[in-house]
Amino acid sequence: MAKVLMKGNEAIGEAAIRAGCRNFFGYPITPQSEVPEYLSRRFPEVGGTYVQAESEVAAINMLYGGAGVGKRVLTTSSSPGISLMSEGISYIAACELPVVLVNIVRGGPGLGGILPAQSDYHQATRGIGHGDFRLLVLAPASVQEAVNLIYEAFDLADRYRNPVLILGDGMIGQMMEPVEFPPMRPLDSLPEKPWAATGMKDRPQNVINSLYLNEHELNAHNFKLKAKYDQVAREQVRFETWRCDGDLDVLVVAFGTMARIVKTALADFNAAGGRGGVFRPITLWPYPHEQLRETARRAKKVLVIEMNTGQMIDDVRMALGPDREVGFFGRTGGVVPTPDDVLAAIGEVTGKGAAR
């Protein structure tokens, strides 16, 4: 299939359709509103249903209902909206419902701003809502990768019966890039869901429920979920290493669009005789702790760069242990570090100037 030039948010909508999603429930919020706009006009062409919810609270509960009757369902939102959804996400995780969520992150806290940020890392990777649960969290660095990850997210959600969160940012949502879409998934090829609430005919009752009044049953349920999360952690860790062969002056750890900017800066750094590489986690949960530890062994310095005041750095420290010094450079609130900013930060850590 030929490549098309498309805005990230619209490409996310199309990728969901390709994956067999025909039901979207959501609420407008900048900078993700092009997803509902796109789906509200595209769904009628493919027999899908767009419902504009009265709030993010309602949207996530509609998702709960839609996933509970066995359909592939999607919602997209941005930071404050995801906060509003957090209770519903907890219910969805507790009931082991497969849903796909997209957070096109904007600057926070509070109403914050509408420009790109990565300040929801903690929220995304530490469960989002109340209780003992995990989401699979995937962080694309390009529109193409967002398309690929969305397409696959529906399969991951179904396989593990767990919510999957795509953590993008305003850049992923708003920029246009050439993309190639995967083929349209035939709806009759989607997995069977015998647990769904679809009317009890010739089988026992199915109940989508997270209430366990007996403490031993709830304890057992939580450890059953834990076993699943452990399995996900064994099977789904994903990351990219870029220019990480051999010994390194610096290993920069960055995720999403930030990693792309870092690559641009490191290309200059390396051209000037430095040796720098990027470690980019693609799954933010499960986090590639071991792989990062291995890669960092060959680096003199480790530098974390994020569009927040330091959140993923907790995972990096967890991976590298307390004895390893970890540098940090961050900007927030929609201030996107330029390659020059990154070069300056690398220069500070390595002591090697590399002016552009």
Binding site: S55, A58, N61, G68, V73, Y91, G199, M200, L211
Partner: protein
Amino acid sequence: MKAIFGYPKSLQSRTTHYCPGCTHGVIHRLVAESIDELGLRERTVAVAPVGCSVLAYNYFNCDSFEASHGRAPAVATGAKRCRPDLIVFTYQGDGDLASIGMAEIVHAANRGEKITVIFVNNAIYGMTGGQMAPTTLPGQVTSTSPFGRDTELAGWPIRVAELLATLRGKAYIARVAAHTPLLTIKAKAAIRRAFDLQRRDECFTFVEVLSTCPTNWGMTPNEATEWLERNMMPYYRLGVLKEPGDFVPYSVERG
């Protein structure tokens, strides 16, 4: 010998946790009988609320959801939009529906979701132990209105059926009670009509059922019944507030 009365197929054969004198049991039965009589059980999905009827999925003999507090109409919307062939109903109390879930019920009704909402109004929070609800009557003593509901501080009880009946779209909205045989027969007719309208893909359907809470009202079941008649029924008038036939198309309204 011919059986003329039995246990509805749409109810599970088990003892409920409801208090003596509470009308939840009667209302469950009316819902189950309606589903049976219309032959809908095998494609019906119930959505239970948070509140006294949180365990309704243990009593209704059909596939079910347990929703978060107040969100049952949103859950039902998601289920029905994804599977329009299913019969989807919510069963909610007044704390769940009229307080925390007010946005969800108003917007589900306004979108004209083709679901059935059974709204059990007993003017109090039951499961949490008898706190003031949005439906608590003026002067009514509860654990959080120990001197009686003061309308200056807590506003007036919300008449949800009337409120929803003001919405422009097509709907069936009725208020019934289930504490006497005659009223129970009428309540059954309204509930059955609501499910039948959903079966025919007609409109949003909403039946409010006035209910007693002897435990949290601090009364015997008989006293509670009398209190409901004397205090609730004059404020929450029984009847059909809106029929789908009342719907006026926009073109007609505009002349």
